[in-house]
Symmetry: C2
């Protein structure tokens, strides 16, 4: 089984687990759960069923593979896998309001269709259902371990909010250091991927040292993933990313390549890039100039280097853990997929 | 010990438990936790400490008294009491955004000061910390029971969101039936008060039948509390409620007295009140006319009757449970405090 086959194999189980949380909905609440189903990619805007075209489901798969790697049956980790996907989606719904984003995955965002008050509540509902999903683990693991699962999950949710707080403050903060940036993404992206790997392992093993190693593995993977995302946000193909060209530049997002380039330019005594980022907005026709500046400052090379660094660290961590060889091959393939191609 | 003394006795423990969740905050996150501390009533807008003047802390006290009533040590339930207060406050922060409310407890709301994106995130943070707080129960109760605590808590959070959904739809829905209204408040207010009483009992007893009875008691109490709130929202003294006079009428809120009066008027073939509620807004100088209409339709009498009904049902439920006589006396006093005075 290769990674694509693993996704193909596991996703239907994850979807089934997710959908099992939305049964027997009374008529008066159907629009509420309809909005949730719309965001999850199951329903159209009029709540009619949508041909299946879900998100990547990266967190559930990571959780299931970590469970298998740590010696467990991946099926036992399905409630955790579903919980992780729900929390991820809670954060997307709220993020879209906070960022004022009108589209996601080529579709209108929840707040754009139903307004901010309902969208806030849809996110809150997803948050609650995520915790509710974990309770199905009761049949699989001891109460003691279930307590640890809840604690680590809640803790990852809080780190997500902390990362989100930092991300929002960066918008109005001209100078963001690389260290601040890495702390932010460790919360906003690393914590939940770390938690995915952690919970998968916790379902399999009582050994806290081992499961903690899986958490570190997942967090490194999360950092690599975020930096790949940063690269695609500037240099990605709009047809693949589903976002406008150089979207992060237009939004003046201070992602790793930009932060590095701003620091480098300062060292060199320049200020052309800095002046762009000091403006209230960046015009579309400045994009070629910005890309040229980033090229001169070697921003893409640097971001790729850091992406590789985290990928390598994740692989080292995985080797150090040992674990089920078949699952580990798939986890390695997952790491390689998050490695930004250097050619 | 009477109820006032019980509040005085328990609140410092609750506050200590709450504050124990906010230790060792790194400097870069202090504004994030500062916003949370502001909302909780611990900090001023500039994050300087505020002389203690917290909220009512009704949910924590109910939880601790239910724990004592069910034969346990109330101190053991403190992590649950803190979690309940945090979830209540999560819902207030988001509610203020959704309702566009500029003030709460005589102070500016979080979104008014720091904007909606941060306020959404502050609410999310409170949600996560609430679940984190529950994990301290690990030292007090078995893993099996802890699993039940998490499940019931998550389930109450979801009912809260369902209630909030209904409440928001009522704003644009002219005809709201009494049954719909009661379902809404059972979610929006009843679920969390039910949960408070339930979790307190769960900390004390392995017996699920007994703890479920406490949940029902708390939910009845919650319904009585909400209807008292509805009465005060129209006829309350602004000096006591901290809200403008007849605030709910100005906001065209469809609370129980109004729903009853609209139904009654329809039966009688009138439409004066209905015409007011069909407008986009209600002017301040219409208040005397509206109050007169509600008086003629006996809206206050009716709301009082329903409030009494739920208070009586709560008392009956409590008698049927039995439990520690000292704690039960205090719980009875709590019910009586939520009974709308008929004179």
């Amino acid at each position: 089984m290769n990674l694509d086959q693993a996704f193909e194999h596991f996703i239907p189980y994850v979807e089934k687990e997710l959908k099992s949380l939305f049964l027997n909905i009374p008529p008066h609440l159907q629009p509420f759960y309809g909005m949730i189903g719309y965001h999850m990619g199951w329903l159209n805007e009029d709540f009619s069923p949508m041909p299946q075209k879900s998100g990547k489901r990266l967190r559930p798969i990571l959780c299931l593979l970590a469970c298998q790697s740590a010696g467990g049956d991946p099926n036992d980790a399905l409630p955790a896998a579903a919980a992780l996907e729900l929390i991820h989606n809670f954060s997307l719904v709220h993020d879209d309001i906070q960022d004022n984003s009108a589209t996601r995955r080529h579709r209108k965002t929840v707040w754009t269709i139903w307004g901010q008050p309902h969208a806030i509540n849809v996110g809150d509902g997803l948050f609650a259902i995520a915790f509710l999903s974990l309770s199905s683990l009761r049949e699989k693991i001891s109460g003691h371990r279930l307590g640890a699962v809840y604690e680590h999950f809640a803790s990852a949710c809080l780190r997500l909010c902390e990362g989100q707080y930092m991300d929002m403050t960066f918008e109005t903060q001209l100078e963001v250091s690389e260290a601040e940036y890495l702390t932010m993404i460790a919360g906003k992206t690393g914590a939940l991927l770390g938690c995915a790997s952690h919970l998968g392992a916790l379902v399999s093993t009582e050994n806290g040292f081992v499961s903690e190693k899986y958490r570190v593995f997942g967090e490194k993977l999360g950092l690599a993933f975020q930096i790949q995302d940063d690269i695609l946000g500037i240099w990605g193909d709009p047809q693949v990313t589903g976002k406008p060209i150089a979207d992060d530049l237009l939004k003046r997002k201070k992602t790793l390549p930009v932060i590095y380039a701003l620091e480098r330019e300062k060292e060199l005594g320049g200020r052309a890039l800095r002046d762009f980022y000091a403006q209230d907005s960046i015009a579309e026709d400045s994009i070629p100039t910005l890309l040229e500046l980033l090229h001169e400052l070697r921003a893409l090379d640097y971001a790729r280097r850091i992406n590789h660094l985290y990928c390598d660290e994740a692989l080292e961590q995985l080797s150090a853990i040992g674990g089920d060889p078949e699952a580990n091959l798939l986890l390695k393939e997952l790491v390689e997929r998050l490695r930004e191609r250097s050619s």
